[in-house]
């Protein structure tokens, strides 16, 4: 018996619908017999009639509706068909949901699921990683689960949180990542996880890049290097303490993210480590991100646009030499 990352997301939603009558799922193609573009809600409309609802292609109004429902006692889960399309709902997410508690003292408990990141052949509009944009604005919690277990427990936690949560689920992990069974509990949001212990170099990353970083650690182990991999789990709030403790052990920091290079989660980690833990560093911190271009369609281009074990390992080796 094994369960995939995608099945864990579906199971978490089934549990939420079963356990909490305030929960409903709202998004394009999530309902009926279809169950979503990636089948993350397959069968749920039949099991929970009237609570898994198809919507028009209206990202702004989908999120606006979720905000209104949340203000009046519901716990909506919005599925964006692709993270990329959430740009059409930025106003509702950033300006409405993100400001609401601070302005009115009334929180907005919505969860927005973003099928994120690149898969082969998906091109510029079906591959984006949006976490840095949402983390930049105040008022939102941004989750980036990297494991089947986190995909499950963090989605359940997201719905329980009284504030808006942007839950970035990685499409590449949907089918590639499997676990033996679902956990009954996990680390809380806001806590990073040491995915692999090491003493020579810390790789701080999140989402699908955790798997790439673990592959790099395995490869470099054969050369005698012990790489520590920190899985942030939530990019906001950012668990600076766990990152600093790791850098204190290794003296070297490499940040890896799949999103574009200008600013963002990896830059934030480096900014915090250099300002709060400069004395811990034996070498200048480095990072690996996607290229500063739109995301290419052809696999030949995509394979060098996105960070991967090869490009991360090359950067890690350089950093270990310093």
């Amino acid at each position: 018996m094994s369960i995939t990352y995608l099945e864990a997301i579906r199971e978490a939603q089934a549990k939420l619908l079963r356990d909490d009558e305030r929960v409903f799922i709202y998004g394009q193609d999530v309902g009926g017999t279809f169950g979503g573009a990636f089948k993350a809600t397959k069968g749920l409309a039949r099991e929970f009639p009237g609570r898994v609802l198809n919507t028009p292609i209206s990202e702004d109004a989908i999120v606006g509706t979720a905000i209104g429902a949340a203000l009046h006692g519901m716990r909506p889960i919005v599925e964006m068909q692709f993270a990329d399309f959430s740009s059409l709902a930025l106003n509702q997410i950033l300006n409405n949901a993100g400001t609401h508690y601070w302005r009115t003292n009334v929180p907005v408990p919505i969860t927005i699921r973003l099928p994120s990141g690149g898969t082969k052949g998906s091109g510029p509009f079906h591959s984006q990683s949006m976490e840095s944009i949402y983390a930049h604005y105040p008022g939102l919690i941004v989750m980036t689960p990297a494991t089947v277990e986190d995909a499950y427990t963090m989605l359940i936690e997201a719905v329980a949180i009284d504030d808006p949560v942007v839950y970035c689920e990685h499409k590449y992990l949907y089918y590639h990542l499997k676990a033996d069974k679902l956990p009954t509990e996990g680390l809380p949001a806001g806590k990073a996880r040491i995915a692999r212990e090491g003493r020579d170099l810390t790789i701080v990353t999140y989402s699908a890049m955790v798997q790439e970083a673990l592959a790099v650690a395995e490869e470099l182990a054969s050369d005698g290097f012990e790489i520590e991999v920190v899985d942030l789990r939530t990019v906001k709030p950012l668990d600076t303490d766990t990152v600093l403790a790791s850098v204190a052990r290794t003296g070297r920091l490499l940040c890896v993210g799949e999103s574009f290079p200008w600013g963002g989660a990896t830059a934030e980690v480096i900014a915090r480590v250099t300002s709060e833990g400069f004395h811990l560093l034996d070498a200048p911190p480095q990072r690996v991100n996607a290229k500063d271009t739109p995301i290419p369609y052809h696999p030949n281009l995509w394979s060098v646009h996105r960070p991967n074990a090869k490009s991360i390992a090359a950067k890690a080796r350089n950093l270990l030499r310093e």
Binding site: S58, G68, Q92, N96, H100, P138, I141, T240, S275
Partner: protein, 342 residues
């Protein structure tokens, strides 16, 4: 089933006898006008930080929006809805607190002027991005339906400027798809800030869009209080009775600048002579005198009462403390998840 939107030529005419809630509505209009005149003088005296945005000329439409709503309904007012907000139950002192930045106000000095609300009491807090509150109203109504509540409706206000946003369009369409009991009251005050109608839209009648959305649509004369009460009151009844969502388009002229920083010098003399340029409060006042609905002494008493209420609200808010920069600044309610960004 859906009724074709009525043409402007079929605009509902004022009845000879004013609406039964005419005088009650008039008093809310008077209070709103008196209060906003006071805000303007405070602004000119440098006592209000930021902008002042008033609803002069739109009080008749606005009051009718607030007046027919009940406890349990959802109201999403916009920037020119002081009369409607008051009629719905917003305490005047909270308005003063928001404009003057009192920490005891609903926005505690964090947001100002018209960006205020009491979401738990059904009055949504608008954001400046127009059209956004339509779908939020839809969501609130869906929540009430999920929870099994009965007899509720939502009313969301917009202007002809906001009607041109994508957000408005998405919200309207979704409202009709979800068949929520919603009334949209659009006030065409003929200018989006300085931009006149001909650069805002090209359709003959905005109300014609009702049919395209799956709404029932009606035009109304926004300068005629009795017509506003009739048309908006009837739409509220239809929504409560389970009819499709309702779109009402009122015609007025904004009798102020966009905000008090704006002298509105772009408003043409020609447009000021149009019937829709009449002052709804003066029209209502004249009707009261012409039909001798209230004697002069009582009318003066109402004016004095409005002035006293305004003074009390302003005086109270002025005595209250401003927000403290050392207070809790968290943008989220879950304290354990506040990021430590510097």
């Amino acid at each position: 089933m859906l009724q074709t939107a009525q043409r402007s030529s079929e605009t509902i005419k004022t009845k000879a006898v004013p609406h039964e809630r005419f005088l009650e509505a008039f008093r809310w209009m008077l209070l709103a006008r008196t209060f906003e005149e006071k805000l303007v003088s405070l602004y000119r005296g440098g006592l209000i930080t930021g902008g002042v945005y008033i609803g002069k000329g739109q009080e008749a439409v606005s009051v009718a929006c607030g007046l027919f709503l009940q406890k349990g309904d959802i109201f999403a007012p916009l920037i020119r809805d002081q009369a409607g907000r008051s009629a719905f139950g917003e305490p005047l002192v909270d308005v003063a607190r928001t404009y003057l930045g009192s920490r005891q106000g609903p926005m505690r000095g964090r947001d100002g002027n018209i960006h205020r609300g009491l979401p738990r009491q059904g009055q949504l807090a608008m954001i400046s991005h127009l059209g956004a509150m339509v779908s939020v109203t839809v969501g609130a109504l869906m929540a009430k339906r999920f929870k099994g509540e009965k007899n509720f409706i939502g009313l969301s206000c917009i202007g002809e400027g906001g009607m041109q946003t994508g957000s408005f369009h998405e919200g309207m369409n979704l409202a009709a798809v979800e068949q929520v009991p919603l009334v949209i009251v659009a006030t065409n005050n003929h200018y989006a800030y300085s931009t006149p109608n001909e650069r805002e839209f090209a359709c003959a009648e905005l109300v014609d869009r009702a049919k395209g959305y799956g709404f029932e649509g009606y035009n109304l004369d926004g300068t005629d209080l009795s017509a506003c009460l009739d048309v908006i009151g009837s739409a509220v009844k239809r929504a409560r009775a389970g009819r499709p969502p309702q779109l009402l388009v009122a015609s007025t002229l904004r009798l102020s600048g966009h905000g008090e920083h704006d002298d509105a010098s772009y408003v043409t003399d020609e447009i000021k002579r149009e019937p829709f340029a009449q002052d709804c409060l003066k029209r209502a006042d004249k009707l009261i005198v012409d039909l001798n609905l209230v004697d002069a002494k009582r009318l003066q008493g109402w004016r004095d009462d409005a002035a006293a209420q305004v003074d009390q609200a302003i005086t109270t808010a002025q005595k209250e403390a401003a927000p403290d920069a050392n207070e809790d600044w968290c943008a989220i309610s879950t304290r354990a998840l506040v990021d430590q960004a510097q």
